[in-house]
């Protein structure tokens, strides 16, 4: 009996010791950049895109001689879309010797980890953490638009281009992203002379049948339906609207990006759908085409906006390091202080546009609107 308990305590201690021994921090001459995202679980495609997108950028930079002659060491860790696991991932990277963090991929994780980066004063640049609270601390910056900004930009775009006066909204009330966009859209809509005639919510547990929401929109005679949601549900909505014979305009945010690549999706359903997205894989410019080609060659899939955000994040860090003259022997905290200042001084032209940052961590770039024509994105003016 006694032995068993001793054995058990020993086993636990041994397990912990094994963990501790792997903590050797190496001090060779390289910038150590870590990335965090969900590589397993429901949101694995987002995390994989971020980790891979950053990897492409790191490989390009290293092949071109690194940052000022110094190579980048890069490592990505899984957080399973869980705040607690995300902190575990962050601690793992810290033990590895990470100096700069690209990530985490999602908002909740990003907020949780920012508490830790703040305590360590480590520079954090989240590629796609879009919730407002992600950049609460001054050491955190982001590449993507914040949710409130997207909601406001959408309302302005619809108002300024006179797309519609009477609008219906279908959103996911159980989702941070969707409800975050909707909150500011609703706030901004009256300023743009938009009347929200119908606002219908669904939740993650109830996202297959949208006929009642669509019927309400049809009854109210809305001119446009705003969809601040992800593409899987949007695809279903478009399908069901087509079956009902509902004729209306559709407008969405970057969550709709990816719709055209969905399996078994009839592309003609998406004809005329407008969306604000920072990145379109079939854009004509050289930067995008090179990136898409490299990504396809390495991973055999078309990159999405998450990959593009992460790619831009790594190049942003490169630009900031060059601007601030950061060297690898500086402490994590000194690097953070230097980069914080440099971030507000640089201008980066990346896949998602030309970006400058404000001191509160928000990117300032023009939202791009595209319309789907003949199964492809076409830029709107």
């Amino acid at each position: 009996m006694k032995r068993m308990k001793q054995f058990a305590s020993l086993a636990i201690t041994a397990a912990m010791t094994v963990g501790m021994l792997s903590a050797a921090v190496s001090a060779d001459d390289a910038f150590k950049i870590g990335a965090i995202g969900p590589l397993t679980g429901a949101a694995a495609n987002y995390g994989t895109a971020v980790i891979n997108g950053a990897q492409i950028a790191v490989d390009e930079i290293n092949a071109a001689g690194g940052i000022g002659g110094v190579q980048i060491e890069y490592r990505g860790e899984d957080d399973e879309l869980d705040n607690e696991k995300s902190i575990n991932a962050y601690n793992t990277l810290k033990d590895w010797g990470m100096q700069i963090l690209v990530g985490p991929t999602t908002s909740g994780c990003s907020i949780a980890v920012s508490e830790k980066t703040k305590a360590d004063n480590m520079f954090q640049l989240t590629p796609s953490g879009s919730a407002k609270d992600c950049t609460n601390y001054d050491n955190v910056f982001r590449v993507c638009f914040s949710d409130p900004n997207q909601g406001r930009a959408s309302a302005r775009y619809i108002g300024e281009h006179g797309l519609a006066k009477k609008v219906g909204v279908i959103y996911d009330s159980s989702d941070v992203y969707s409800s975050g966009i909707f909150a500011t859209f609703k706030e901004e809509a009256p300023n743009q002379g938009i009347e929200i005639a119908v606002e219908e919510a669904f939740t993650a547990d109830n996202n297959v049948d949208f006929s009642s929401q669509l019927q309400k929109c049809a009854d109210a005679g809305v001119e446009l339906i705003f969809l601040p949601i992800y593409y899987t549900q949007a695809g279903t909505i478009l399908q069901q609207a087509a079956m009902m014979g509902l004729q209306t305009k559709w407008f969405g945010c970057d969550g709709l990006d990816g719709m055209l690549d969905m399996d078994n999706f009839q592309k003609e359903l998406a004809e005329g759908v407008m969306l604000l997205t920072p990145f379109a894989a079939d854009a004509e410019d050289e930067l995008t085409q090179n990136f898409v080609a490299a990504y396809k060659a390495a991973y055999n899939v078309t990159p999405n906006q998450f990959a593009a955000d992460a790619y831009d994040a790594v190049y942003t860090i490169k630009a900031a390091i060059e601007k601030a003259g950061v060297t690898t022997d500086m402490s994590i905290s000194d690097i953070c202080e230097a980069l914080k200042t440099a971030m507000t001084e640089i201008e980066v032209t990346g896949l998602t546009g030309t970006i400058v940052w404000t001191a509160d961590g928000e990117p300032d770039k023009d939202p791009k609107a595209v319309v789907i024509e003949d199964g492809a994105y076409v830029s709107m003016q």
Binding site: M1, L39, G41, T92, K94, I111
Partner: protein
């Protein structure tokens, strides 16, 4: 000490060992931390380990001692987490850290206990599968309710809504406390290993004492034969309710600990949904249903495995599943247990049997 130990009943001695095991494990880890030998990865894991071990103790009380299958325990943890984080956000600037955190833990436990009591009224009239289904539904309902709850505060006081943020009508100086699916952001970071350990230790002592008390015997009598227990005059509903509520209180305290370890508390399906409840059940089943010590050990090992295996990147989930299956087979399969008994001499294999079988359990 030795004399006293032998004069103790077998059950008390067993319990003493469980508590000693906890204290020794704590002392060893704390010693390593003082010596700076614990890396930040493992250091960050300590509070979550305490949370999960406490949850295992809590669920073991319902599943192992009361003998009812609860599939909604993550729901109680969720209630405790949100209640305590809500309290901490409200009084963050008006109370000292220590009294506020202590109160937050107590409030987490009390609110979860209240929910346990309320849910218990209809639920505990059911048995077996029906009870499992209702607790499962409860867990899902709690998660969804919190996801539509908006609470804000401004100079006029608190505002509630179950519609959206805009309908709160907050003044300019207002701040969101619970923002629907975005949950609670900016909960003060108060949890640490010592507090976590104390919660685990106190929960364990309470549960172990309960098992060996008059009430505990009554609860186990109900588990073993409900009709026989009723016929000798044991008030079945009262004792079932008592065990269920106590279990909810412990889960609520674990939730409070969890909430104060993260600055972003979101009721995601992965965190407070069905999957998490099942994970807690796995701790209990793997540790040997009814064995508190086994449940704690299983919780610690299963929390550590995926993290220790990080160096295997994507394969770690695969390994985790394999380890789970292997542990289950080796722990419970009669052939493998006979093999262990035959090849590992003496006390160790005997101990294995005791820990696996959980004599004080079934």
């Amino acid at each position: 000490m030795k004399n006293k130990m032998t004069s103790m009943s077998k059950a008390s001695r067993d319990n003493l060992w469980t508590i000693l095991m906890l204290i020794i494990a704590f002392a060893v880890v704390q010693g390593f931390r003082m010596g700076g030998l614990v890396n930040s990865h493992m250091d960050g894991m300590l509070v979550p380990i305490c949370v999960y071990a406490t949850m295992a103790v809590s669920l073991n009380l319902v599943v192992g001692i009361l003998g009812e299958l609860s599939l909604g325990h993550a729901g109680f943890m969720c209630v405790g987490a949100f209640a305590s984080a809500f309290f901490s956000k409200l009084f963050e600037n008006s109370m000292g850290v220590f009294p506020r955190f202590l109160l937050a833990i107590l409030i987490g436990g009390a609110v979860a206990g209240l929910f346990g009591f309320l849910i218990g009224i209809p639920v505990l009239r059911l048995n077996g599968d029906y009870l499992a289904i209702v607790t499962l539904a409860f867990g899902e309902i709690i998660k969804n309710l919190i996801n539509v709850l908006y609470v804000g505060r401004d100079s006029n006081g608190l505002h509630f809504s179950i519609k959206d943020q805009a309908s709160l009508g907050l003044a300019e100086d207002g701040e969101m406390i619970i923002a629907g699916p975005q949950g609670i952001t900016g909960t003060p970071f108060n949890s640490n290993f010592v507090v976590g350990f104390l919660i685990l230790l106190i929960s364990t002592i309470v549960v172990l004492n309960l098992i060996n008390s008059r009430e505990g015997r009554a609860i186990m009598a109900i588990r073993d034969n409900r009709i026989a227990a009723g016929s000798v005059g044991i008030p079945i509903t009262k004792y079932k309710m008592f065990a269920f509520t106590l279990s909810a209180v412990i889960a609520g305290c674990a939730g409070a600990l969890y909430a104060h370890n993260l600055s972003s508390l979101i009721a995601t399906p992965a965190r407070f949904g069905y999957n998490m409840s099942i994970l807690f059940l796995v701790f209990v089943v793997l540790g040997g249903i009814g064995s508190t010590r086994g449940a704690i050990i299983a919780a610690v090992i299963l929390t550590l495995i995926p993290e220790v295996l990080r160096f295997m990147s994507d394969y770690r989930m695969l390994i985790y599943a394999i380890v789970l299956i292997v542990m289950m087979i080796v722990n419970w399969n009669p052939t493998s247990r006979a093999f262990i008994r035959a090849h590992i001499p003496g006390k160790l294999s005997g101990g294995k049997k005791a820990a696996g079988g959980g004599e004080e359990g079934r």
